[in-house]
């Protein structure tokens, strides 16, 4: 049997739905802050989906007031224990990557100009409803997505919020809580119920953990997923009682609870139910006192006629809850656990605030570890959303759903109730999936070597500068830059005939763009 060792690109699914749509590239202008507290005009390219009206507003508008330079007040007062180093572009990028989905446009510089504390607070203290900037999400046909009804559009809906919301940390916190209270569409009758649950995460992500916990406990998606609505006094179901302790509030094998506690807790949680019809699925979720066990229950040694609200409170009041909360929340933002003293401080702050989430998030986001410590691997959707933001692209294809599946993360479909395994984001199939995502993301940017015109003279340095600029000028590690330069030079040497001058340079450009997208610089946060 002879297997031809071809290595062509034929297997790439044809983008039969996705026509290369014309965009009107249009230069706009905006104000960006300068280091001396003033503002300067910066030009940038807006990609209009429709022909822009003649003479439409292209900025920059009225110059903002001068910022307090020369003002004797320290513009960036930092609390003790906070990161004390410089807060510039690189630090702002890291903050935006961990507490959002990376910078877009001049966002990193703008954040850097605010100083650390104000920058963090601009993320943790958003006001009002989020604004979604840019074109609304569409599917391959260009039709508006139908997140509640169309298969996969729930994923697109959330990805779009990650790309366009002006409250990125709210979306990132919702993603964290989706992993924390991992509920899957696999066990929920309607996509809308999953979307509603994510909205619960958005609205409750900075408040009291106890309030959040209670809302999640009786959330319709959760009541279906962990059988909370099949838990009655005559036939208790322990599923939720166990997971609320093990995964949501206390942790396994820490001596925080016993099997008896789980059985008793299940009885405290009895009473929730819903109706079912083939048209509506599960609906009319309600507490039915007739199904609730009104006898005394003893949980963690405390006896009373506990109900579901007590069940949540008992967990939160368990002495091992604050440390569980701090460790878990920390782990979403930092790859290594906090030093003992830092951990102690966070635990005290959490308890003394009455289990408030916001102050702990703020403490984590201003901690030295975040800016001085090692990087961590971005989850696939964070990587994808970040690339779309950097390139100024939006949710304009169903591909963003099916490409994420082999990469290991489909929103609303965590693998199980313990969420995604953050230590396993990369293996050979997932890395390949990320490579292919990058190729797709670059669809509008990469050059068709044999049909698009391209420079016949671009040199190696210019090629790299162009590719990095297209990616929104991310930090590229020097050893990667050196390799890219080497690739540029090697590619140029391949040009031996006149007809190769432009196409090979175009391919070189595509290769550089592709490699930056899959480089550790973009995969790490």
């Amino acid at each position: 049997m002879a297997i031809p060792q071809t290595d062509t690109n034929k297997g790439r699914p044809k983008r039969h739905h996705r026509k290369r749509k014309h965009v009107w590239k249009d230069k706009h202008y905006r104000w960006v802050p300068t280091a001396d507290g003033d503002w300067r005009v910066q030009g940038y390219i807006v990609r209009h989906k429709h022909r822009p009206a003649k003479g439409h507003f292209r900025g920059p508008g009225k110059k903002p007031a001068r910022r307090g330079v020369g003002n004797p007040v320290n513009p960036d007062p930092r609390p003790a224990g906070a990161y004390q180093g410089p807060f510039g572009h690189a630090q702002a990028v890291r903050l935006l990557s961990r507490a959002g989905f990376g910078p877009s446009g001049g966002q990193a510089d703008q954040l850097a100009s605010m100083g650390l504390v104000a920058a963090v607070q601009s993320l943790t203290r958003p006001s009002g409803a989020a604004t979604l900037n840019g074109p609304p999400p569409v599917d391959d046909e260009g039709s508006p997505i139908a997140p509640a009804d169309a298969w996969g559009h729930d994923h697109l809906w959330w990805l779009d919020r990650m790309v366009r919301s002006n409250q990125p940390l709210v979306e990132r916190m919702a993603l964290i809580l989706h992993d924390w209270f991992a509920t899957s569409s696999a066990g929920v009758s309607k996509q809308q119920q999953m979307i509603d649950q994510s909205n619960l995460f958005r609205s409750a992500c900075f408040g009291s953990f106890l309030d959040l916990f209670r809302a999640v406990t009786v959330d319709p998606a959760m009541l279906q997923w962990l059988n909370g609505a099949e838990n009655t006094k005559s036939a208790p179901n322990e599923n939720y009682a166990r997971e609320m302790m093990e995964l949501f509030s206390l942790g396994a094998d820490r001596g925080a609870y016993t099997e008896d506690d789980i059985r008793e807790q299940a009885r405290a949680l009895t009473g929730w139910r819903y109706d079912w019809s083939s048209e509506e699925g599960a609906h009319n979720f309600r507490f039915d006192p007739k199904r609730h066990d009104t006898n005394n229950k003893t949980v963690f040694g405390r006896t009373g006629n506990w109900g579901w609200e007590d069940a949540c409170r008992l967990c939160v009041e368990n002495p091992l809850h604050p440390s569980f909360f701090v460790d878990k929340l920390w782990s979403y933002f930092l790859p290594q656990p906090p030093a003992a003293g830092v951990r102690e401080g966070l635990i005290n702050a959490y308890v003394s605030s009455g289990w408030q989430i916001r102050p702990i998030v703020e403490a984590i986001l201003t901690s030295p570890d975040l800016y001085e410590g090692p990087p961590m691997v971005k989850p696939p959707v964070v990587h994808l959303a970040g690339m779309l933001r950097a390139l100024g692209r939006y949710v304009d294809t169903d591909a963003w759903r099916w490409l994420c599946e082999p990469a290991g993360q489909v929103l609303f479909w965590p693998p199980n109730v313990s969420g995604w395994d953050d230590s396993r984001w990369l293996d050979t199939s997932r890395m390949r999936a990320r490579w292919n995502i990058v190729d797709y993301v670059l669809d509008d940017v990469s050059i068709r070597p044999w049909s698009d015109p391209y420079s016949t003279t671009e040199n190696a340095d210019e090629a790299i500068a162009r590719a990095i600029a297209i990616w929104g000028s991310p930090e590229i590690r020097p050893e990667h830059r050196a390799e890219l330069l080497d690739l540029s030079q090697r590619s140029e040497k391949l040009i031996v005939a006149n007809w190769q001058k432009a196409p090979y340079r175009a391919m070189r450009q595509n290769a550089l763009l592709q490699l930056i997208g899959v480089s550790p610089d973009l995969i790490l946060q």
Binding site: A2, Q5, T6, P374, L426, D486
Partner: protein, 449 residues
């Protein structure tokens, strides 16, 4: 907006989940049979010589390492049978529409196809091809299609699962655990070549479920592809740099993770670069089904040792509501794909080695329902396609004047007769060893002498 029966969709989900887990099947309908092959062991195997990631079913005592040599050394079968399944119950009365039957328009006030809308079926001019099946009509015109306008079996069962199960096992017995083509492989196949029975839809088709020999399923035809808008010679430079990204030193666990994944990914890309990239001599419709057929033609030309291949047709055919649009798009994608596949085989000179069998679990009720759809019926249609196909209709079209006791189309040919002929005339194997009661079925001539 239910477009097919709710039970069906739900059952399909459960069915695929159960098949993957290799566990027993949850019962959806009382008495619903377990698909053949339920519980077969499933192992993941990367074949370097074939450049494919395979799920290997059965033969659990054979070590995976044996398959590599098994595939490399197996002789490519001379004759290949490709089975294409219209999932859900294809409406035969739309594919071969009896426009000249006086009752047709009466039974189908909304769904009847207009006379002249598609090419006339030359062997029975009462019938007319669906316009979306033009590809099939073209091949029929070239004498490469044998049509069964009313195929089925006595006392037809209208459950998707039971009827499909009968077709899969080649017998009317809910208890059978091997597919009819699986038994064929058990009798003639190889111990170490899982490609001999290949499902192209990610999980094993019960039709090729064996008792002993290994068979396989693949997700797609693309192997381990890494896409880019870069071609050689720049492409190899790009991957050289990608490999170097994987071998540079690291200063943190996160970076190490990316470096390792990068290095291993590039390694696997090189090892599995085999048939992953293929090219086709003819254009295919840009559909998943077309792409799979394009890959299949390439595999055959590479000499991969396949005997029987199963693939699901484009689209879903359980058209209880809004039938016209769903049927049209599914048929169009399927028939265009099949035409391209046949042209591809002809271009490569492989046309005498491949025969295609098209089937569905049943036809649909002649009288349309109230939601512009049709419910489960009895007799359906089947086709045998290929340069070597006899090209003559098997069994007559029974007409709509007299229907069966359930107001369904009467059966004029038995699917087991078709199987017997395919085994004997095409695969050169004794049908009696595969199909119970084979002696009792009339054998239509399906292959050109």
């Amino acid at each position: 907006m239910s477009r097919c029966c709710n039970d069906y969709t739900r059952a399909q989900l459960l069915r695929s989940a159960a098949a993957e887990a290799g566990k027993g099947l949850p019962v959806i309908e009382p008495g619903m049979p377990e698909p053949a092959g339920t519980g077969l062991s499933r192992r993941k195997f990367l074949s370097r010589s074939a450049g494919l990631a395979l799920a290997v079913y059965g033969a659990s005592k054979i070590p995976l390492s044996a398959f590599e040599t098994g595939i490399a050394q197996a002789a490519g079968a001379e004759k290949i049978l490709v089975s294409v399944f219209f999932d859900g119950g294809l409406d035969a009365l739309s594919l071969l529409a009896p426009v000249a039957d006086p009752r047709y328009a009466q039974l189908r006030p909304k769904l009847a196809l207009a006379p002249g809308a598609g090419p006339t079926f030359s062997e029975d001019t009462r019938l007319q091809w669906h316009p979306a099946a033009a590809g099939l009509a073209t091949l029929h015109g070239e004498g490469k299609v044998s049509a069964f306008p009313a195929i089925g079996y006595d006392h037809p069962d209208q459950s998707h699962f039971t009827s499909r199960h009968y077709y899969e096992i080649g017998e009317l017995d809910v208890g059978f655990r091997t597919g009819w083509l699986g038994r064929y492989i058990d009798q003639v196949g190889d111990d170490e070549n899982p490609l001999q029975g290949l499902s192209m839809d990610g999980s094993l088709s019960p039709m090729i479920a064996t008792a002993e020999r290994p068979v396989a399923a693949i997700d797609g035809v693309d192997g381990y592809e890494m896409w880019s808008q870069v071609e050689d010679p720049v492409k190899s430079e790009m991957f050289k740099s990608f490999a170097r990204f994987g071998s540079l030193p690291s200063d943190s666990p996160g970076l190490t993770q990316v470096r390792h994944a990068t290095a291993q990914t590039n390694q696997l890309r090189q090892e599995l670069g085999g048939v992953g990239g293929f090219s086709s001599p003819v254009p295919y419709p840009e559909t998943n089904f077309g792409h799979k057929l394009a890959g299949l033609a390439a595999y055959i030309s590479f000499g991969l040792p396949m005997r029987v291949v199963t693939i699901r047709a484009s689209g879903g055919y359980d058209t209880h509501a809004g039938q016209a649009a769903d049927l049209e798009s599914g048929l169009k994608d399927t028939c265009e794909g099949l035409l391209a596949f046949q042209r591809d085989l002809e271009k490569r000179g492989l046309q005498d080695r491949v025969l295609i069998e098209l089937w569905s679990e049943f036809g649909r009720r002649p009288e349309e329902n109230g939601s512009e759809g049709t419910d489960h019926g009895a007799a359906g249609c089947a086709f045998v396609i290929g340069a070597k196909a006899k090209g003559e209709m098997v069994g007559e079209f029974p007409g709509l004047t007299k229907l069966d006791d359930n107001e369904n189309l009467r059966v004029t040919s038995d699917f087991r007769g078709m199987y017997c002929s395919l085994l004997e005339e095409w695969l050169g194997h004794d049908a009696a060893a595969v199909i119970p009661g084979a002696a009792g079925f009339a054998r239509p001539t399906l292959v050109k002498a």
